[in-house]
């Protein structure tokens, strides 16, 4: 009685524990599609991030973590990429300048992977600004200012 009970318990436990894996094996999730269609990316001659895609996919979090410590704690603001190009170490001014659609790029993948980084609690103020439709004129002003500054 006891032994059979124990065996039954183990079987039930294993089935429950393996259920999610089994469910995924039977019906795998649709592959993730990220949106690269932003004005800044479309303007690029070569569709390439600051490093190669494989590296960015696997290690962008470490890169951002290091950037954050470099900038905030050491005052080191320039990143020299593998190809020698220099970038400002900035989530807002560098990453989001191209990926101006974090909802369809960052968030989509994070949701897919089930992770919840707290970047947007503070960063991506652009998004905050755009929430307010009345600011469309200000937005245009800002864009022209930034473009003017770049020239």
């Amino acid at each position: 009685m006891k032994k059979t009970g124990m065996i039954a318990f183990i079987v039930v436990f294993c089935v429950l524990a393996l259920l999610p894996f089994a469910a995924n094996a039977v019906s795998p999730k649709a592959p993730l599609e990220l949106d690269y269609n932003t004005p800044a990316i479309n303007m690029l001659e070569e569709h390439k991030c600051i490093e190669d895609t494989e590296f960015m996919k696997s290690s962008h979090m470490q890169l951002l973590d290091q950037w954050r410590n470099d900038v905030v704690r050491n005052g080191d603001i320039v990143y020299t990429a593998t190809d020698g190009t220099r970038y400002e170490k900035s989530l807002d001014d560098t990453c989001l300048a191209c990926h101006s659609n974090p909802e369809d790029f960052c968030d989509r993948c994070h949701t897919y992977e089930g992770v919840e980084p707290f970047c947007w609690d503070c960063h991506n103020s652009f998004g905050l600004w755009r929430e307010d439709a009345n600011n469309e004129a200000l937005w245009q002003d800002y864009v022209s200012q930034v473009e003017g500054g770049q020239q």
Binding site: F55, R68, R73, N74, I77, V78, T80, C122, S125, N135
Partner: protein, 296 residues
């Protein structure tokens, strides 16, 4: 089968706990390989040699501020700072957040204020902020090194790390620190905010960072830009710096010096500039064009 035999070859509670502890320890050991490693892929050569050793400070000429409009003028400086840094505008004084604000003579200098003081000194509005102390109390007490002193003297905050214990607020003798008692974003004025600058999150402490981001880019703090020469910024350890020149020529005081924190915001009483070149359009005056240039 006796109890003794039984315990020898079965899973007693004690053995179970032991096995669990060993399993957890080995799991932790294995997990060790998953920690964030420094990125070695890139960062070929950085010409960055680290922050130079300095002590930045501010010299605020309260007489000049008064001459340019007093409280009203200072309000524009405050607005420039707060909108640049997306400081939330919370009306409730218990929760309001300020990086720079004004206090009366008696309040700002309660320890040294004379009872019978000349009308001018008593009537000035005194902008107060983080003093970027030489030996800051807040840095000493912070349990996570969220707030730390940069080699150039800025008392800096790493908002990513703050646990919101508010020890720094208790330690700061200048009342320069504010907690985000609520999510600050709804209180950021969207019409005047700076979309290129982050906000802060609920539950972290914030304060003036002397615009470290502008200094790193070779510029000067926003308040200095907006003060039309009434606030001088510079390295206090360099005797040839502008700020040392200004301090060498006028009477100045600092807040709560007796506590030994070494505040680096000086308050100058000198309206002689009024009669020299500041308002005659001569050199040494910051005009709007200069301001915009510095801002980029």
């Amino acid at each position: 089968m006796t109890a003794q035999q039984h315990s020898e070859r079965s899973l007693t509670r004690r053995n179970f706990v032991k096995a669990g502890a060993i399993a957890c320890a080995s799991g932790l050991f294995a997990l060790n390989g998953c920690t964030l490693e420094e990125v070695k892929h890139s960062q070929l050569e950085s010409d960055f040699k680290g922050i130079e050793s300095k002590q930045y400070g501010l010299a605020i000429n309260v007489s000049m501020l008064d001459a340019l409009g007093g409280q009203e003028f200072i309000d524009t400086i405050i607005a420039a700072c707060h909108s640049y840094h997306n400081v939330p505008q919370i009306d409730d004084p218990k929760h309001s957040i300020d990086w720079i604000w004004t206090q009366s003579y008696e309040e700002a200098f309660s320890d040294i204020a004379s009872t019978y003081v000349d009308e001018k000194t008593a009537s000035y509005a005194y902008p107060v902020m983080c003093n970027h102390c030489t030996d800051p109390q807040c840095v000493r007490v912070c349990p996570t090194q969220t707030t730390f002193k940069r080699p150039d003297g800025i008392v800096m905050m790493d908002y990513h790390r703050c646990i919101g214990c508010r020890f720094c607020m208790s330690a700061c003798p200048y009342g320069a620190r504010n907690l985000n008692f609520m999510d600050p974003r709804p209180y950021v004025d969207k019409a005047t905010m700076n979309p290129g600058y982050p906000t802060r999150s609920k539950g972290v402490v914030e304060k003036c960072t002397l615009c470290y981001e502008l200094i790193d880019q070779g510029s000067v703090p926003v308040c200095v830009q907006a003060a039309y020469g009434c606030i001088t910024f510079g390295d206090l350890t360099d005797e040839n710096s502008e700020i040392r020149q200004v301090l060498a020529q006028a009477f100045s005081i600092r807040r709560r010096v007796e506590l030994g924190t070494g505040p680096n915001v000086y308050y100058i009483f000198d309206d002689s500039a009024l009669y020299t070149n500041a308002f005659t359009g001569g050199e040494g005056t910051l005009f709007e064009e200069d301001l915009l240039e510095g801002g980029e």
